[in-house]
């Protein structure tokens, strides 16, 4: 039987997964098309991405539903299909995860802004996230993972909506940029205040994902740890993006990423994984680094 995320976090460092959208593009997803449509059209390809993470050692696979809130889907003219897309996302991940790994139902930002930047209504945001949460729960998610939020208030709306829709455990990550004065979300939320507020609002774990690579994330982590009353999650990108062939590539090697993340786990991060630019190679390297006898020097020298 599947363990709960809370008991797993209490017992040891939990290995999350890596990027999903980029892996679907590698399998032929047309640029600009919502990746979540493949939950209906190409479920075997989505399942294969999850399966690669399971094989690499992920304790958790995240559903292909980052952009499947009714808000984001509506921008693609797919708002009415949010229910089936999210339920399919959870079913596919469930099939890949089996009973030994956990399925995290992924909830990303709405793309709408609360005042004064935009005119979004907090109750409408919570309602939309509730619809997504309900559909992910119906498809068999073990818990829900709210992430890449640029506004603490929106993350709190998502927690509120998800809590109203289901009884599953909830986790939440914001995304922080590095400014001269330190790390902040685009809306100005500081990491310490944010994880405290997320925990107070019922998140079973909280932390940071995306925006920065593993090196900058290592600088951000102490701020999270100092304030957190729940286990801390970190999911950085694969280093800094570089330009090549008219697009962006991430050139960090899995071994370096894994060494940085293993060090963060040794410092107290309880759930570690990757965001943009990471794939199953990164997760496999991280698995090895986490199981190395001395997590401070997991690579053992030669790469």
């Amino acid at each position: 039987m599947t363990r709960s995320i809370a008991s797993l976090l209490a017992e040891r460092v939990v290995l999350l997964d890596g990027g999903v959208g980029s892996e679907l593009i590698a399998r032929g997803l047309e640029l600009g098309r919502p990746p979540e449509l493949w939950n209906l059209e190409r479920p075997d390809d989505v399942r294969a991405v999850h399966a690669a993470y399971v094989a690499a050692g992920s304790d958790v696979v995240q559903t292909n539903s980052f952009g499947a809130s009714p808000f984001v889907l509506a921008r693609h003219g797919l708002g009415q299909r949010a229910g089936e897309i999210n339920t399919a996302a959870a079913r596919i991940a469930r099939a890949a995860a089996g009973t030994q790994r956990l399925v995290a139902g992924d909830i990303g930002p709405s793309g709408e802004s609360l005042p004064p930047v935009g005119a979004a209504d907090p109750d409408e945001l919570a309602d939309g996230f509730a619809r997504q949460a309900q559909a992910l729960a119906a498809g068999g998610a073990d818990y829900l993972s709210i992430e890449t939020m640029i506004d603490l208030r929106e993350a709190l709306c998502a927690l509120r909506g998800a809590r109203a829709a289901c009884d599953l455990p909830l986790t939440a990550c914001l995304t922080f940029d590095r400014k001269k004065r330190g790390f902040f979300t685009l809306m100005g939320d500081a990491p310490g205040d944010a994880v405290k507020a997320l925990a107070d609002a019922g998140a079973a774990a909280a932390g940071a994902n995306c925006s920065v690579g593993s090196e900058a994330m290592a600088h951000l982590l102490p701020e999270l740890l100092a304030a957190a009353t729940v286990p801390v999650i970190v999911k950085p990108n694969a280093g800094l993006p570089e330009v090549a062939d008219g697009g962006t590539v991430y050139r960090q090697q899995p071994i370096q990423f894994a060494a940085d993340l293993a060090r963060m786990a040794a410092l107290g991060a309880r759930a570690v994984g990757g965001c943009c630019g990471t794939d199953a190679r990164f997760i496999a390297a991280l698995r090895d680094a986490l199981s190395a006898p001395d997590p401070a020097s997991p690579a053992g020298g030669d790469v």
């Binding site: 802004s113 400014k179 809306m187 330009v243 962006t248 943009c276």
Partner: protein, 218 residues
Amino acid sequence: MDTDELIAGQRRAILDGDARAAGELARRAIDAGLDLQACIDQGFAAGIQEAGRLFEDGDFFLPELMQSADAMKAAMDVVRPALLEQSGAAPSGPKVVIGTVQGDIHDIGKTLVATMLAAGGFAVVDLGRDVPLAHFADAAEREEARIVALSALLTTTMPGHGKVIELLEQRGLRGGVSVLVGGAPVTQGFAREIGADGFAPNAPEAVLEARRLAASGP
């Protein structure tokens, strides 16, 4: 209130993001017969530039910057017609066509840049998000735009920036139009590689870059 105090108040109104005060202080400057260009340069525009600097440093964030831009716009809406009377200056600045490229539904950054450009005196035509690439060339031609500003949040959609430049070239519009690119994954190196004229890493710098492009001539 003497002139210096009034101008300091105008700057403060922008920094405070107080649109009502900004509009009122603009009106007061007109009633007092002040040099409106000086009010803009030392008051309102100085305020918005300071807001941009605070944003880059991490003292201001999106909400503060947005409110400052709204206050700037409120002031300029009052000042612009009077300035036209006073100095015969053009009623609006260079025209910018702006949008988020096809396939990309993100528009928080693009909308902020559009607001900041409008606050900075540009005539802004906002095409919205997920804009078919040909529409940028259509709009540039129709609007006789001086600048086409392109945004993308995704690494997968940013190649659209380069395709818009190709379309402008194919239609023979490239000579009169400068292309400004931006968005989270967009870098100076990428801008150079695709042949864009300008790049900005954030909204305040996008306004400075647009000014530079407008001043450098087609």
